[in-house]
């Protein structure tokens, strides 16, 4: 073989290898190009499902006072101003409002901006008129955006459209993160060299030379791992991205993509959500200091976490403010002023409702794969009532703070949960899963399964009433008893007061939550019947048939208690709890509607008689403190519950308009020293009181008579005759032994006068 042939072969081999390498490189680039375009375009329209609250309905008679209305408008980010100037503005003069609404989509309508005049008194709306002065029968405000369901990797975000990104945010990001963004092509050699030099001098990495584009690529396609190969891929992808998309598309994608913090399981992405998460307002309402804080967070969301490290966050914010002033994006005086301000973070619990969203997610899981919820722009319209949610959060936070201050347990914080529902339809209005209402975490409302104590008693009494052998006036024996259990042990239940009360009418035994009388009643009725009653009222599992079931050793979550009590509040009908009304696609077409569903669960007459007894709980029984906290003369039916050693404090009750269940206890299950009345009841009453409740006042079913009996003896009487006369419902025509010489009428004179007055006045 001659030398020249060898040389030619060698050359050929080298050339061939180079060609293959070149082809491979080209293929690699083409592949990256493909990935970048496909993924990026995909991301551009991939919007998480947005979740909306129930819009507030305004109509003459609606229990929405002037201050309520203004609060609601503020929640919806309406600003005071001249409504003629444009949508999103309102003017208030005393009780009169002039509102220019925004363009807004409801479940069944896309409404263009419109002017509306609302007149209110302190109690509620008195009338409504359109801009031309014509009367409106009703008008609904915008549904409040309460969050989004973005289950992929736990990422949550509120996506901003290009025109929603404030110019100052655009400029600030470039100034702080990538000064030559407008000039480079995805990779900035100069800043890489500068960073390299700085790092070499320092001996370790102090600066990154990444452009915004590279950061975006890293966020999108690559992890945090830093290898040379990764860096090369990142640079190549950044170049391809810049080749295909405009600077503004990339910047807007960055604004929506960047990671800004962690909230339990939920990763906070993008400035739209960042603004809501840290400050509770939309990004276009941020002032310079707030914006500087968010921009500063990009460098290290956990290192500069303003909740955990306020000093670091402040220093970082002030540095950013100074750089913005140096770049003449804001005035020096403004930067100076903003630097003096506190961080002004959103108080926890304002606006974000993780516990309710959790319920929405679970309800939708029955119908949707998680991935579908993250798909193209679904809109989920829920039954959440922001007013009720705020009231529940406020009541729980305040109540727990007060209870903690009075508690001997200095080393632990009490926890709690609240669920509020509309009893007739089963619509869930509010869910609070713990005292830290704004953070995702253990959702006690849905997941804390605890013994319900005396909350079980209504099921015992209902089972008794349904046998037809008992009525509210039946006399029970509250006397000691011993019971041999299946395992041979002896059970000797006691009353909470450790006393016995002898012969007591059923209404009193329930109102005062007497254990001995209840156990005797339950044993007579039969454990199986009590368990069946719980199931038919709405408990999903059949509880074990231990006698201790009668005193509430059965464990339930607050939401499950709501399900059971809803059937009582609903006159014996079981309404399927509903948190979602409808799911709309991105064009506003309904993909799925959830209707009200009811089912007859228990005899209406028996349930009415039971509810009448539960009213006595709040009037004379263990829950009597609740009525004092409610608006004057509001009738409520309720039950207290305390588990053994006061580990759980419960209160469940309803008015004509609201059903609420409250649980208070420690996460580690230690005794609280609180009865249901001491712990959960004030929280319940505070929440309900601020919601302008209507009285519990259903018409008595035709199968019952309303009668007066003595609370202490059960003898028929009249209000004028016995000081402790209480109203009960008994089977129509029932023979009741009467207090000697007392007129034991169906209707008292008082009732007759009342109905006469009502007829006359109407």
């Amino acid at each position: 073989m001659s030398r020249s042939r060898l040389r030619r072969r060698l050359l050929g081999a080298i050339l061939g290898t180079a060609l293959v390498a070149l082809l491979a490189a080209a293929g690699w680039v083409a592949y990256l190009d493909h990935v970048v375009t496909r993924e990026f375009q995909g991301r551009l329209w991939s919007v998480p499902a947005r979740v909306y609250a129930e819009p507030l309905e305004l109509y003459a008679g609606a229990a929405v006072g002037g201050d309520d209305l203004e609060q609601e408008l503020r929640r919806l980010h309406y600003r005071p101003g001249d409504p003629a100037a444009g949508p999103g503005l309102y003017r208030r003069r005393g009780g009169e409002f002039d509102v220019h609404t925004r363009r807004v989509r409801f479940v069944d309508e896309l409404r263009a901006p419109v002017r509306v005049r609302v007149r209110t008194s302190a109690d509620g709306v008195t009338d409504l008129a359109a801009a031309d002065g014509s009367a409106l029968p009703l008008f609904r405000l915008d549904p409040l955006l309460v969050g989004s369901v973005f289950p992929v990797h736990g990422e949550d975000r509120i996506v901003l459209a290009p025109d929603e990104v404030p110019p100052l945010l655009r400029a600030a990001l470039k100034t702080i993160e990538d000064r030559r963004f407008d000039e480079h092509h995805g990779v900035d050699l100069r800043s890489i060299l500068r960073a390299l030099w700085a790092n070499l001098r320092a001996g370790h990495i102090t600066q990154g030379g990444s452009t915004l584009t590279q950061q975006l690529v890293k966020n999108y396609f690559l992890g945090d791992q830093q290898t040379f190969a990764r860096k090369l891929t990142e640079a190549l992808m950044a170049l391809r991205l810049e080749a295909h998309f405009s600077k503004d598309e990339i910047l807007v994608a960055y604004v929506n993509e960047v990671y800004l913090g962690q909230d339990g399981e939920r990763a906070v992405h993008g400035f739209g959500l960042g603004s809501q998460f840290y400050f509770g307002k939309p990004v276009d309402e941020l002032d310079a200091g707030e914006l500087a804080l968010l921009v500063g967070l990009v460098k290290g969301p956990s290192y500069y976490d303003p909740h955990k490290h306020p000093d670091r966050a402040r220093a970082r914010r002030n540095l950013v403010l100074k750089e913005l002033a140096d770049a003449r994006l804001i005035g020096a005086a403004e930067a100076e002023r903003a630097a003096q301000q506190p961080l002004a973070l959103r108080p926890h619990g304002g606006g974000y409702v993780p516990a309710f969203l959790d319920l929405v997610r679970r309800h939708l899981k029955r119908d949707y794969a998680e991935a579908d919820l993250a798909a193209a722009g679904l809109a989920i319209y829920t039954t959440l009532e922001p007013r009720a949610q705020a009231a529940a959060e406020r009541a729980l936070t305040r109540g727990l703070r007060r209870l903690d201050a009075a508690s001997r347990n200095r080393d632990a914080q009490l926890e709690g949960a609240v669920v509020i529902a509309e009893p007739q339809s089963g619509d869930v209005l509010a869910v609070v899963g713990g005292r830290d209402t704004g953070s995702e975490g253990f959702n006690r409302a849905l997941d804390a399964r605890r013994p319900i104590g005396s909350l079980v008693k209504p099921a015992v009494y209902l089972a008794a009433l349904e046998t037809g052998r008992y009525s509210a006036a039946s006399v029970l024996e509250d006397a000691p008893l011993e019971l041999k259990l299946g395992d041979g042990s002896l059970w000797t239940p006691q009353n909470f007061t450790r006393e016995t009360y002898g012969s007591v009418p059923m209404v009193r035994a329930l109102a005062e939550s007497l254990n001995l009388a209840t156990v005797r009643l339950g044993l007579d009725v039969g454990l199986a019947r009590v368990a069946d009653t719980l199931v038919k009222l709405g408990l999903e599992r059949r509880p074990a048939l231990n006698p201790s079931l009668l005193l509430g050793t059965v464990e339930m979550t607050p939401l499950e208690v709501v399900e059971v009590y809803a059937s009582l509040a609903n006159g014996g009908f079981r309404a399927r709890l509903r948190s979602v009304r409808a799911v709309l696609d991105e064009h506003g077409e309904a993909l799925r509607r959830f209707k009200v569903e009811v089912e007859a669960a228990a005899a209406p007459a028996a349930v009415y008689a039971l509810d009448r007894m539960l009213v006595q709980v709040t009037e004379r029984g263990t829950g009597r403190g609740a009525t004092a906290r409610l608006p004057h003369n509001i009738v409520a039916a309720a039950k207290t519950g305390t588990s053994s050693d006061t580990r759980d404090s419960w209160f469940a009750g309803f008015t004509g308009s609201h059903l609420a269940v409250v649980w208070v206890g420690y996460d580690d299950n230690r005794p609280t020293g609180l009865t249901g009345a001491a712990g959960a009841m004030p929280v319940w009453a505070d929440a309900i009181a601020s919601l302008r409740p209507a009285s519990w006042d259903p018409a008595p079913p035709p199968e019952v008579d309303e009668r007066w009996i003595e609370f202490s003896t059960g003898l028929a009487t009249s209000p004028g005759c016995s000081s402790d006369a209480v109203r009960v419902a008994v089977p129509r025509g029932a023979a009741l032994p009467a207090r000697s010489g007392c007129a034991a009428g169906g209707d008292s004179l008082a009732d007759k006068v009342k109905s006469w007055l009502q007829k006359t006045l109407h």
Binding site: E57, Q424, S474, V475, E597, P604, P700, P702, G746
Partner: protein, 178 residues
């Protein structure tokens, strides 16, 4: 509405207080003036029974109560019901359902709305839910004979739609249905 009720209630409380006082100061126990429909109490109290049978024999059953309620729709729900009916007429049943949902949120205790939804469920061929809604309406309308009869008629229709004609006929034979 709310203010008027509150004022009425306050007036009543004052009045009832006065009546109670008056009753206590009178030597004989108070007897209502219009005792026509009042069951007469037994002369001497019987010993407390541990259980009271329903429909006891010692007293005559009380006469049917006078109508105590008169359900109507407020202007807001009235306009929604009109809208829902128009939607049904156009064949937009899901839309009508959404509209009535809105009305239910405003007046959840008004049996007329539950009757309306029951009719809609019938139009949707969902007879079991129509029946449940009609029964719910029936329970809510106790005290309002007109609403009760209306709920009864929808219930009968819902039963027939499920081929339960016998039950429907029995229902229609009830005196309160007429």
């Amino acid at each position: 509405m709310a203010t008027e009720d509150a004022a009425l209630t306050r007036a009543l409380v004052a009045l009832l207080g006065a009546l109670a006082l008056a009753a206590c100061s009178l030597p004989p126990p108070y007897r209502p003036p219009a005792a026509g429909s009042e069951p007469v109490p037994p002369a001497a109290p019987a010993p407390p029974a541990t259980a009271t049978p329903p429909g006891g024999t010692a007293e005559a059953p009380a006469a049917p109560a006078a109508p105590s309620r008169d359900y109507r729709l407020g202007p807001a729900t009235q306009s929604l019901v009109a809208q829902a009916r128009a939607q049904v007429a156009r064949g937009e049943l899901p839309g009508a359902s959404t509209t009535l949902d809105r009305a239910l949120r405003i007046e959840p205790q008004n049996p007329l709305l539950w009757i309306e939804v029951a009719r809609l469920r019938l139009a949707e061929n969902d007879a079991p839910q129509a029946e449940a809604f009609a029964r719910k309406a029936l329970a809510l309308s106790a005290g309002d004979p007109a609403a009760r009869a209306q709920a009864g008629r929808v219930l009968a229709d819902a039963l027939r739609a499920q081929r339960r004609n016998q039950e429907a006929r029995e229902l229609e034979a009830q005196p309160w249905m007429h």
